[in-house]
Symmetry: D2
Subunit: 481 residues, 4 copies
């Protein structure tokens, strides 16, 4: 497939196989029953069309669950274009169903990095209006911050930055630069017009949020941003309970491996690490946790995990899982000392958690593809190692990501964030915001009935005693859940 | 595909797609590392070829793990033919790899019932020798007892039984009768010759074992039988720890459903039920167990499970799993009263644990296929229900069965049983045997090193004190583990 | 025993039995090995005597662990006086050992409410200096805020408040008023002098912190306060992991009851509720959680707990545990409808979580004391109910509170807070503070070696990538752990 | 206290403090509600007095639960005398209540070994009838086999054995010999008369059962014996679920130690070990299991435990628990290499699981008693170690044994065994029997209602399909649960 920087095509989508649309639609129907938050929001707000005509670009794993998010945004009136935020995470039948329903979507499982960035550009290129051939989004749903990055870098280029001409730290960085240069040439002034219309971004994940805070701190953030990741109903649910289900799913689909009796090393004991470590232990793994933070380390120890360094596990670890958001967590040196047939994967963020590039360039290494997303490396000394999803997110690359119910929490936050960014666009500053606790509680509330939860209601006397409103919010801001 | 009762084909296998052989071989290579029991047996005995030239028919799920079993038997010298024991359980790349390597195998995922029984016949039809066109097996590896059933019924037919002409309780029974009548016509005297050479059967599973004990009690058992199912290293491992991993795997691959927060009803709390219930709870399900046996019921209660009847869960159960070996555990009446979008599946034995036939015949029901092995039923009142693997084993139909490591235990028992049946064929009676505890312990021992277990060794004084040999066996026969 | 408002006694302590001092000392020795945080602080700071001569009043459960805290404060140079903050929580051998070593301590297990408040006054009454007969503390370690309350109310009385003459909502409120009136008469101007010297308070628990924020908001807070409760190494450790161990301990020592198979109702799913619910489930209870907050309720559901109201559990609940900090959580009406022989207890905060007063006054109820802290109530209809520790903290009343190791975390925070309040007394405002994250991490770090944890150290490149210092602090303030 | 071989005293009991009877009675009342099996048996059979006038000697931990057993036997008509089977396991208030009610009981917490064996003799010495001054029991309830041992050894002595004159392997053995010699002298022919009337014994525990099988194999067993230990409702409940609750209870009451974060070494992974290991893990311990049996070892590994030798844990193990029934499991050499302040205890059977005698005799060791059942040993090199209950059963020595509900299962088996031994005394041979599965299921059934279990009932068609009676028994004899 080949894309980018051309006239709007008559067929405004790029997917792997449009004939998968029916299957995708069936699974979207199932998912809707599992996503009560999004469905309630549709029911409550669709009549008013709060996002009527608003141009929304999404860059977020193009899965069945995301399809329900997309159609929720459309029900609220939005004009949506979508790309995935990971080259392996698209479910092709989900993308097909979305394309079929008339929403421009640019995503397929197994994109090259060039295709990936072309798709991102496609997703933020809306048809022009009158004099302009192209227009940008008014709102962005971002996951990892790639759309935000592209716009900021494009805008800086138009304002004199020479970053595109500097040396690149990675292959991907160079691809971005090439793209920006091409756009700069073919669409002069494009990024300035994009920024002019852009009203805000809601960001899904830790890494993207981190980038946003850095931009804000540097005074470079071009729009208001809502940090969806740090809603309790996101970070303490999707990161924790999502991974608790999807890590083993990825491992099983990739390797069919028995987990009981194995030694699993989970690098990091944040929310993702917690979900991962508990899941593996429930399967009968002996789990070793690695941590840099003494508080998280003490939590892991209190839960009965051995806390040690990666170095001290080499030779006995059967499975390695990175969950950190950091880089170089599993180094090439680690990999060359692992037990034969160790399995290495990442459920944290970028593929640089594992030194994949170095591994691929290692003299004498042999890479045998077993099936899509599963590679066996035969190391120079003959020992073997399995790398899943080329070091990218194993739950999305090797399975289908988090299940619908937990994503309904995250995406309800996304939807409320989009609505609020638009409704109050006059009042937001170019800062990073979190959703108010009241909305956070509301998202939780929308998911309780589906699973049969009966809440207790405070009496007035009790509410007075506690000094909180009868209907919440119930906790001080610093409460940790 | 079409099979049965014809000349030996030049291409002596029936598989879905022989081009999958390479992929199958890669996964067999991986599995070998996870099956230390079988690999140790190869190493220890292959040189002596204890099964040299022995004709062995296998009827057992044609998976990657079974491929390692087959090649172990071949390494020991056997002449092997194989079929699956379940219409959905074949992994086509495993079958292809086995076929490619020259072993006759008759199995593909999604056989019709007619094809299934034809394959079973193919697997027990060895090329003739001299005057005889066909010969039967000398040993049988059975799972569920279908080969054993076919031979016994065929033999009885040749000895005057009129069972084949009587009414059938199910579609499948009629198919068996039709096959037997055809064989009777086309291969007169075939079953008598088969029985003449047949020296024994080793049976894999509870249901098949149950049939064997019934045959033995009725004085109709034609050969010695080894009950592999009741080796501790089988029933307390594969049934328990296998299901603990493969049930969720099947559910996830089929439905991508969030398990946390759901109410799951596990029918039966034997070893399979125990593995299933604990797995689902670890995922955050609230598990309700149903039981007929007060002892197992009390065990479930002591483990913190609610123990109730299926009837009392209707309307709140999200997921139903049968694990019983019994029939009519989930009835049509149950299914018509379930919560909307309930998921129903079976990991026990036959598909009659759930009244699938009645469901299919229900007036006004609509069946929508979502993807292979996943059907949505729209009931007359509009509520929906998902049935997985058409009521057959969900872990084999929707995932890939138990993982290699635990199957290595079961299959090591199988291999030792086959070797012993042959070596001591003069001494066995037509009864059902279990493997001696010493061998059971040996199977366990073969799996310890792989997972880093260090055993403690008794001193002589301690062994004296306990009154057991220093090297075992360590426990009285009635010990329950 | 009878106390208060008299000359300094020659024997400046009140304990149950000074002869228990040796036993107490032996257990203090053991506890020191389990409290590495406090011992490290002693080692690091004792030479400098940072609290040299500072008058410190403590009001905190007088247990073995608290003894180690007290002796740590003394090692840092402080002049300490102590009372318990709960009438049942004193371990008499701990109090004896502290008294023996020369520290004035006023605490015994089973105080009356009058004795309790007298002891509190004793603890804040230091011998005078020159013209003044009595002096107050310079620093306060508070747990629940009773010392803080007494000083504030006394001070307000001296400034014209008529609160002491108004009607009282409870027996205890009246006792406090009576005490204040007596002191007002016998020690004119006392509270003004106390406040003049008072430099700060560090508060241990949620309820006390809540009171402090209310005072601060109302502009009435008289000193700087450090909220120790909301250090991560306090709230996420002591509340959670402490209760996970001490709830069952209290239940067992009180009732010797089998937990497996019982239905346990845990009211509240904050940190205390989480620890309680998980502990009971691990014992084989079926746990029902009640919650007012939809987020916590969703967390409970994701962990597989049934979330329901107390009302819906009546008749099936065997054990009720309140963990809320709220009042009237278990009402008299609830108690009159419970299953026969239900056990009711509180591990939240005050005894008003359960309507004990109403129960005691119920017409026709009969109370049978089984042993200290265990009462059987025979209700008018003949059903029986057990109430533990008269509705006060069951882990302190019926067992010995949290174990040393986890308390070492909390008390290390306390000690660091006291040191900082004193060292920076010029810079603090009359507000509520939390300890900086760096100190929180330091507390955790002090406990890692004891339990064999090996931390991973960031490389400079990784720290840059994350944008954090190599040695921490590692997380943004809003991080929830 | 001093006992044995004298005239029947007017006050026919020996307890620590008869004034504790009221308290004991209150706790017996509570326990009756938790022992539905025994109470149902009383209700069903008491009217017929099936044990009318039968002399029953019991030697079994004299706890509250045992009191309910004793009173059940009395309700069935038996004439009961009782001793404890462990010098530390008596609950003095339970013994007092039983004595108060007129049943001769000889037991107090903290007997010397001499007193212990004197009490055992007292318990089997019934008042004479006519010419005989003393008579023995007709039935024995034994736990560990001490009554059985005494009678057998006494009988052998009267028949010429010279065992009493040989050298003794332990102090206790010599005490037994001395007692036998004294009785032999003072009550000539006593043991012969005892054996003449003796009709059977029911044995509670693995070790006692093991002794019985050895006696039977040697042809020396003098009476029929029922192995109660191997009823499923005993071994899979009391051993497993009892220890799961009572081990931590013993550790907590003895040491108040934080379990989370500790390394616990559980020696043995039988039922007792399984309960112990899972309990400790639930508290947050990292548990290492030691095993001699490869099957049990593999089970432990599949459950995620590290399986290693004691030697390999020295220096990192914080808590050691023996559960084996074997001797010398923790040796002196182990103890001298443990981490400072390690805790060592036994929940298996005899105190020789730990080399306590060797430890006590170690040159330079210093023993400091902390409180009853808790000793600190200061080793020659200064390191310290805690030994609980002097190496005897920690749950009985340091806590109150298993909770009532699980003991109701074991004791219902005991009661049914006693009834059957008597009713069918003509038909039993001098062999070791287990209770029929039907009774085993009945015991379970008697406990289901109390905990709200709803059983499913087989239809006739299902029972036919399974080949079992509609009402059970449901499983083949070899079924392992």
């Amino acid at each position: 497939m080949n894309a980018v920087v051309k006239d709007m095509p008559s067929q405004d989508y790029k997917v792997a196989d449009i004939s998968l649309a029916d299957w995708g639609r069936k699974e979207i129907d199932i998912a809707e029953h599992e996503m009560p938050g999004l469905m309630s929001i549709r029911k409550k707000y669709a009549a008013d069309l709060p996002l009527k005509g608003v141009r929304v670009t999404g860059s977020l794993h193009m899965t069945i669950q995301t399809a329900v998010l997309i159609e929720t945004l459309k029900d609220l009136g939005a004009d949506v274009r979508w790309a995935s935020c990971n080259i392996f995470s698209t479910q092709d039948h989900a993308a097909a169903a979305i394309a079929q329903s008339g929403t421009p979507v640019f995503a397929w499982k197994g994109e090259t990095l060039e295709e990936y960035w072309d798709c991102t550009l496609d997703a933020l290129t809306f048809p022009g209006d009158g004099s302009d051939k192209y227009r940008g989004p008014e709102l962005v749903v971002d996951d990892g911050g790639d759309v935000t990055l592209l716009i900021h870098k494009g805008y800086e280029l138009e304002h004199g930055s020479t970053w595109v001409d500097g040396p690149s730290e990675s292959e991907e960085e160079q691809i971005i630069k090439n793209l920006l240069k091409r756009v700069h040439k073919e669409r002069p002034g494009f990024w300035g017009k994009v920024v002019k219309d852009w009203r805000g971004v809601s960001e899904e994940t830790t890494t993207g949020v981190h980038r946003l805070y850095q931009l804000a701190q540097a005074g470079k953030l071009l729009v208001p941003a809502i940090n969806v990741n740090d809603s309790v109903t996101k970070s303490k649910f999707d990161n924790l309970y999502g991974c608790r289900e999807s890590l083993a799913d990825g491992l099983k689909r990739a390797m069919d491996v028995m987990l009981a009796g194995k030694v699993a090393v989970v690098c990091g004991y944040g929310d993702v690490g917690k979900g991962s470590a508990h899941s593996l232990r429930a399967y009968g793994c002996r789990v070793v946790v690695t941590e840099i933070d003494p508080i998280n380390a003490l939590q892991a120890a209190m839960e009965g995990f051995e806390v040690n360094t990666v170095e001290n596990t080499l030779g006995r670890g059967d499975i390695y899982v990175t969950t950190t958001g950091n880089k170089d967590v599993i180094t090439l040196e680690h990999m060359t000392q692992m037990k034969n047939q160790a399995i290495v994967c990442n459920i944290g963020h970028f593929d640089n958690e594992i030194q994949v590039e170095k591994l691929n360039k290692l003299q004498g290494v042999k890479k045998v593809n077993i099936k899509p997303q599963v590679d066996k490396y035969i190391l120079p000394d003959g020992r073997e190692m399995f790398l899943l999803a080329e070091g990218r997110l194993v739950n999305l690359g090797c399975a289908t990501g988090h299940p619908s119910f937990v994503m309904s929490n995250s995406f309800s936050n996304q939807t409320l964030a989009q609505m609020d960014l638009w409704a109050n666009r006059e009042f937001y500053d170019k800062k990073v915001y979190v959703l108010p606790k009241k909305l956070d509680e509301e998202v939780a509330r929308l998911h309780l009935e589906k699973i049969g939860v009966k809440l207790t209601k405070l009496t007035d006397a009790q509410a007075d005693y506690l000094g909180v409103p009868v209907d919440g919010p119930f906790k001080p801001e610093h409460y940790r859940y």
